[in-house]
């Protein structure tokens, strides 16, 4: 019974209405892929897809699929993956760490210190814990915090324009 209820809970976001916040965040997630370039070896070819992954509870529902439908980033198609456990994360380029993993966030983030994965989250201390892009909505407008050095360290290049947007907020 508990399992069914959990399943329902988990499935709810998929079948039910996605909150507008996450609709916006879904689009932002996709757009990040457009403004970031991954090192060649992590992409594996011109037509190799860029994998956007969600670790933890998926708050996006179908919004991610809606956001990426018929589009690509830098010529690469986009694929969506959902992971329950950190160990499952493999070959992902852009990972959204859900708020549900908050307790283990630091541990998760530190495990990506050597991988060319763009970590995105919306928890309070995402950046402090090692995350690269923190995306929140302020007055329904996106508010970005970016740790460019963290991204650079793993070989990711974030477009200057994007950095500019986050500049003001940067510490």
């Amino acid at each position: 019974m508990k399992r069914v209820a959990l399943f329902l809970l988990l499935a709810l976001p998929v079948f039910g209405d996605v909150s507008p916040e996450y609709k916006v965040k879904a689009v932002l997630l996709f757009n990040f892929a457009k403004f970031v370039s991954w090192p060649a070896e992590s992409l594996g070819g011109q037509d190799a897809p860029i994998i956007i992954g969600v670790l933890g509870d998926d708050p996006f529902g179908g919004a991610l699929e809606d956001a990426i439908r018929g589009r690509n980033a830098g010529g690469h198609p986009i694929a969506i993956r959902r992971y329950e456990r950190l160990e499952d994360v493999k070959g992902c380029h852009l990972l959204f760490i859900s708020a549900s993993e908050k307790s283990r966030q630091a541990e998760i983030l530190s495990s990506f210190k050597t991988n060319a994965v763009l970590t995105v989250g919306d928890t309070e201390d995402f950046i402090q814990q090692g995350g690269m892009i923190k995306v929140t909505l302020v007055d329904r407008k996106p508010h970005l915090e970016i740790d460019a050095r963290a991204a650079e360290r793993v070989g990711l290049k974030i477009q200057a324009q994007l950095l500019e947007l986050a500049k003001e907020e940067r510490r």
Partner: protein
């Protein structure tokens, strides 16, 4: 309004050159101006499009991530381009997102227009997509005033105008100087011509400036002058000779008359005292004197054709012919000649000279008759359609060899010795002179022993009875 043709040559040439230059320069300026205008009208949108592209590209992230403030910051960089009046960004769904407008302009975001550029009264508006990563992320709208074009064109016009004026002035100055290359020779020729005709001085010559058509004209003009000079000299010597002939023969008459008179006196008073050979000498002397008298008379007649010429009046040649025949009546009777006169017309002529002409010809016909054959002389005339009268005197006398046909009309030219036929050989020369004075000529056709036909052509209508000889 003076006719164009009457304007002085140098001025005309100047105007021709200036008109040509002006038209050429105006066309060139118009051409360049049009080109400038056209290219500017196509260059400007391109330039603005590039500007919009750059600015738009810089705003891509701002639009994508909905950072209006950042976008506006970027747009405000357009301040650097003073001709940009305003600019704005639209989100993909057509909503205005960010804007910029020049400090002196009151402006609000217009509704989204279709992509492309439009020239309005004093604005160029440009709507174009902002593309990022092959996707249209926004639409940028740029509004520029045309002052750039206008300023530029004004400057251009000023320069063109100045250049035009300077060029025309230079053209004027140059043409004023250079047209002389053409007009100087011509004007010189005109001057010389005027001087010549005013002073009747044909020794003047026009100056030749080169070997072009004008030079050739001058050359032939000068040649003509030389010819005129020669003719003048010839005419003068002609006149002098005529006067001389007249005066000389006149003055020669007097001593000749004395010779004849005293010869005659000698014969009368002392004839019987002289021996036979003395009388013979006297006889020969008198004959010689008589011949000289005839010669002088003939010479006087010849010169009188020109000097004693009378103006032309209508002369009935038939009447003249009959008068001549009545004058020659005795000779006609003596020789038993038959003279037939055909239809002779009335022509403009000197009556006395016509008489002389016909008398000489008929007289010759009688003189050069064949022995033992009745002389038959026919006078006839034929007028053709062009006002020419051909008078013919035909005889059946001794004729002459055609190789002498020109000689017989020479002065004092004879084909026979004076013991064969009398006469000084001036009769036909007088006929030719008379014919020429009447605008015609005289020719002859003959075969030895078969008579001769003399043809005189005369103009039926002739109103310059003065200067035909």
């Amino acid at each position: 309004m003076r006719r164009i043709r009457d304007i002085p040559l140098s001025r005309k040439l100047n105007w021709v050159i200036m008109s040509t230059c002006t038209v050429a320069l105006l066309l060139a300026c118009a051409g360049f101006s049009s080109y400038e205008w056209l290219t500017f009208r196509s260059a400007m949108p391109r330039e603005q499009s590039t500007l919009a592209e750059i600015v738009g590209a810089n705003c891509a992230a701002a639009v994508v991530f909905s950072d209006a403030r950042s976008a506006e910051r970027t747009l405000s960089a357009l301040r650097a381009e003073p001709h940009v009046v305003a600019a704005c960004l639209y989100t993909p769904d057509g909503r205005g997102f960010a804007k910029y407008s020049r400090h002196d302009v009151k402006w609000s975001v217009p509704a989204l227009l279709a992509d492309g550029y439009r020239f309005e009264s004093d604005r160029l508006t440009l709507t174009q997509p902002v593309v990022y990563d092959s996707e249209r992320v926004a639409t940028i709208y740029l509004e520029t005033d045309l002052r750039a074009i206008q300023d530029r064109l004004l400057r251009y016009a000023l320069i063109v105008g100045t250049v035009l004026v300077v060029a025309l002035l230079a053209a004027w100055a140059m043409s004023a100087r250079l047209q002389r290359v053409v007009t100087d020779p011509i004007l010189d020729l005109v001057e010389t011509s005027k001087a010549i005709t005013e002073k009747h001085d044909y020794s003047l010559r026009a100056k030749s400036y080169g070997r072009d058509e004008l030079g050739l004209l001058v050359e032939s003009y000068n040649q003509m002058l030389s010819q005129i000079q020669e003719r003048e000299a010839l005419l003068r010597s002609n006149r002098e000779l005529q006067d001389f002939a007249y005066v000389a023969s006149h003055d020669l008459q007097e001593p000749l008359r004395k010779i004849q008179a005293f010869g005659d006196r000698l014969k009368t008073k002392f004839g019987d005292v002289l021996a036979e050979d003395g009388r013979d000498y006297l006889e020969r002397m008198q004959n010689a004197a008589g011949r000289m008298q005839t010669l002088i008379n003939d010479l006087l007649s010849f010169s009188r054709v020109a000097t004693k010429a009378q103006p032309f009046v209508p002369v009935d040649l038939r009447k003249v012919a009959h008068e001549v025949l009545s004058d020659l009546e005795i000779r006609i009777e003596q020789t038993g000649a038959r003279v037939e006169v055909g239809e002779l017309p009335t022509i403009d002529a000197d009556p006395l000279q016509m008489r002389q002409l016909i008398q000489n010809l008929v007289g010759n016909a009688l003189k050069f008759r064949r022995e033992h054959i009745q002389p038959v002389i026919t006078l006839d005339a034929h007028v053709n359609g062009e006002g020419l009268c051909r008078l013919t005197v035909k005889d059946n006398g001794i004729g002459f060899d055609m190789q002498y046909v020109d000689k017989i009309f020479g002065v004092f030219q004879r084909l026979h010795g004076r013991d064969q036929y009398e006469g000084t050989g001036v009769g036909l020369a007088i006929c030719r002179k008379i014919a020429e004075r009447h605008g015609g000529q005289i020719t002859a056709e003959s075969k030895p022993g078969d008579g001769a036909t003399f043809t005189v052509t005369l103009l039926v209508h002739n109103n310059n009875g003065e200067s035909n000889s």
